[in-house]
């Protein structure tokens, strides 16, 4: 791992309450962006409960739509979760697009890496069979391009309200404390004896 995952600037979005759509579809966004990624949450998705709409869209600022799709496909192979929605993976693409907007070097590294993947696939790498994609990903794992994508993904993918809901992490919901909200609700093991634990404060 390179040095950067620790010093990433944070999207304030991470700190927003869950009511807000993480990725919004707006007409204005459609007109401004260099590309747009679309998707729909699965009918059974738990995330549908916290999103305002099942449809999501990501406006890209620098990368084009194809580049966005290849990166989305790449992140899905780096961190393959069978039931994780594309909407969450798209947050990684959003952060990569943001980095590409801020730094010409990153933009060049990403577009070059994507071009090489496409060349490997003889066309659209995102459409390549998963087994072939996995082989390609393993082959580039030591490249700076891969490290940029991976080190961004390990932060972005697991640090947002949708991921917290998917994986079952309370995040800000715990800000008031779990003392009266299930901190000790595990019932499949015996409770420790009183002398090894302690009393629950009355108020």
């Amino acid at each position: 791992m390179q040095t950067k995952p620790i010093t990433l600037s944070l999207e304030r979005e991470h700190a927003r309450p869950m009511q807000k759509a993480p990725i919004s579809l707006t007409r204005r966004a459609l007109l401004k962006g260099t590309g747009v990624l679309f998707g729909t949450l699965a009918v059974s998705s738990t995330l549908a409960l916290i999103a305002p709409s099942r449809v999501w869209a990501l406006e890209l600022k620098t990368l084009n739509e194809h580049e966005g799709k290849v990166l989305l496909a790449l992140v899905k192979r780096i961190y393959p979760h069978a039931t994780l929605e594309d909407a969450v993976y798209a947050l990684v693409v959003k952060d990569l697009d943001g980095k590409a907007s801020g730094t010409a070097d990153v933009r060049a590294q990403l577009t070059d890496g994507i071009r090489k993947l496409d060349k490997q696939a003889g066309g659209d790498w995102a459409a390549r069979p998963v087994a072939d994609q996995d082989r390609d990903v393993a082959a580039i794992a030591d490249t700076p391009f891969f490290q940029t994508v991976r080190s961004t993904a390990v932060v972005s993918l697991y640090s947002n309200a949708l991921a917290y809901a998917h994986f079952g992490y309370g995040a800000q919901a715990g800000d008031g404390g779990y003392l009266y909200k299930g901190f000790d609700d595990l019932s499949w093991l015996p409770d420790p004896p009183e002398q090894d634990s302690g009393p629950i404060p009355a108020n």
């Binding site: 040095t3 620790i6 944070l10 302690g198």
Partner: protein, 532 residues
């Protein structure tokens, strides 16, 4: 909520030319405690804190955002064979740059170092490659101060305070530990209120201990020692005051501190005595960066021991997954301990001992630290089980080694142009053997509780940084004497974990606080005698 708040205290202001003040560098467990103890005696102190003031209301329930808010992120490098040097080359330590220092971030575990651990060399004998030494003080010497510290911190299971109620993570830990035969398993000695105490609330099991305790249930100098010191009218806290250099007079006594203020302007605060408490990386860095014609190797460094013998405890984590939900993130992060392995028993294949303590990480940091750099299906399979995961942390004694050391980086400078610290660390074979034993025991513990998979997690960036200005009986073996007073310069003190002669198997904060209380008594006495 705490009734005393740092920002509400107008307090006393001292002039830069006031040369009767004791200047304390750092406001954490060591510096903050020393400041209050001195101020309570009527001794005037100026505390210089590099970080900003972040209050309880500012704390964030978001791991990365909180990390950006509280962590020390100035330039640093890591070198050596430890994995941190590869995974986090610019983050050797996870410590804080904020008012209250790392007492904002600590987990609260408060254990007394055991009597035999103060006599490490005598007890373990010579260990090849280790720079072992006995402390110049014994447990009996420190016991009265431990008692005062436990009272000050409101440590659970002392002074009639009950233990904290165990959370889900503890239930698994307790079941597994007792099933494999451990006898001493409980929710620990924690500086976290199990009942309202000392004008602070009881713990609400929030689970963000590392991100700053919003309720103030966990002791931190931020809302105890510091405002109380200011309240006396004998202490001034200057924030965003980044100390660059300590100056001395012709006789070799220190007499001033140069620091960059919040606006980046260089200021010179005169001083009667100076105590450095910048944590075990910044403290030696400051001493080394303060080299002069008279002290060309840095201040208090005639022994060449400044920066050496860096210790960080033998650590590691084991996480385990289960068939049913755990929600380890709910509740006090570290209220769970196994004490049975904290003993010297070489039949296990190593000297010294270790503790097992519960730990939890939120989803973000679990992803970051589970196996840094990892990707692919094995990693994501572990992540998929996050909600059904329990965790513990190993904290054991590591061997002091002369070559494990803080040095000044030749090329990398901080934002003020000062040479950054390089943190060099290699595991000692004893550390490796202990960690292996602890990993195996932890895996057995979780298997006994019904674990499906277990994961060995490498040490996180260091939170326990120790030993880089160590106490020694003989001046050639260390940097400070038994009072934390430097052997070379009588009015220069070290007031943090840098003083530790050896690491012991206990989380260090209670000892840092106890030493600071003891040091305050000594400084007051020395001042009364006009010795300093």
């Amino acid at each position: 909520m705490a009734t005393t708040h740092t920002q509400e205290q107008p307090g006393k202001k001292f002039s830069l030319d006031d040369d009767h003040v004791v200047v304390i560098v750092g406001s954490g467990a060591g510096g903050g405690t020393l400041a209050n103890e001195l101020a309570q005696k009527g001794i005037d102190v100026v505390v210089l804190e590099a970080g900003k003031l972040h209050t309880q209301a500012d704390f964030l329930a978001d791991e990365w955002a909180s990390f950006q808010q509280l962590a020390w992120l100035d330039a640093r490098t890591a070198s050596g064979s430890w994995r941190i040097a590869k995974d986090f080359p610019n983050l050797p330590a996870w410590i804080c740059k904020t008012v209250g220092g790392t007492s904002v971030h600590w987990a609260g575990a408060s254990l007394r170092i055991q009597p035999y651990e103060f006599k490490a060399l005598t007890t373990y004998g010579k260990v090849k490659g280790a720079a072992l030494l006995d402390w110049p003080i014994t447990r009996e010497d420190l016991d009265p101060y431990y008692t005062r510290a436990e009272k000050k911190l409101g440590v659970t299971r002392t002074n009639g305070l009950p233990g904290l109620p165990g959370n889900n993570n503890f239930k698994i830990f307790h079941a597994g530990a007792t099933r494999i035969g451990y006898k001493h398993v409980n929710t620990g000695h924690m500086a976290i209120n199990s009942v309202a105490n000392d004008d602070r609330a009881h713990c609400y099991q929030r689970g963000f201990c590392f991100q700053g305790c919003r309720f103030g249930a966990k002791w931190s100098t931020l809302y105890t020692e510091l405002p109380r010191a200011v309240q006396t009218g004998h202490a001034e806290l200057r924030t965003e005051a980044h100390v660059a250099r300590i100056e001395h007079d012709d006789t070799g006594k220190v007499n001033a501190v140069l620091y960059y203020d919040a606006k980046g302007a260089l200021q010179r605060q005169k001083a009667r005595a100076i105590a450095v408490a910048g944590n075990s990386i910044e403290t030696p860095r400051l001493l080394l960066n303060s080299h002069s014609a008279k002290f060309s190797a840095g201040l208090a460094n005639s022994s060449d021991q400044v920066g050496r013998n860096y210790m960080r405890h033998t650590t590691g984590s084991v996480y385990a997954t289960f068939a049913d939900k755990v929600d380890m993130y709910k509740g006090t992060v570290m209220a769970g301990i196994v004490e049975d392995e904290a003993r010297h028993d070489t039949s296990r294949g190593f000297a010294g001992g270790y503790h097992l303590e519960t730990i939890s990480l939120g989803l973000s940091f679990y992803a970051a630290f589970l196996n840094p750099g990892a990707w692919g299906a094995e990693f994501t399979d572990a992540m998929d089980q996050y909600a059904r995961t329990a965790g513990l942390w190993i904290v054991g004694e590591d061997m002091p080694q002369s070559s494990n050391r803080i040095t000044l980086n030749d090329t990398l400078k901080d934002q003020y142009g000062l040479p950054a610290a390089d943190v060099h660390f290699d595991d000692h074979p004893n550390d490796v053997a202990m960690r292996e034993h602890a990993f195996k025991q932890s895996e057995s513990l979780y298997k006994a509780a019904g674990a499906k998979d277990t994961y060995r997690v490498p040490p996180y960036p260091s939170t326990h940084n120790l030993g880089t200005a160590r106490m020694s009986e003989n001046p050639e073996d260390g940097v400070v004497n038994k009072h934390g007073q430097t052997h070379d310069i009588p009015n220069l003190f070290i007031a943090d974990g840098s003083q530790f002669t050896t690491g012991a198997a206990e989380n260090p904060t209670l000892t840092i606080v106890s030493l600071a209380i003891r040091q305050a008594d000594y400084i007051a006495d020395q001042m009364k005698q006009r010795a300093i």
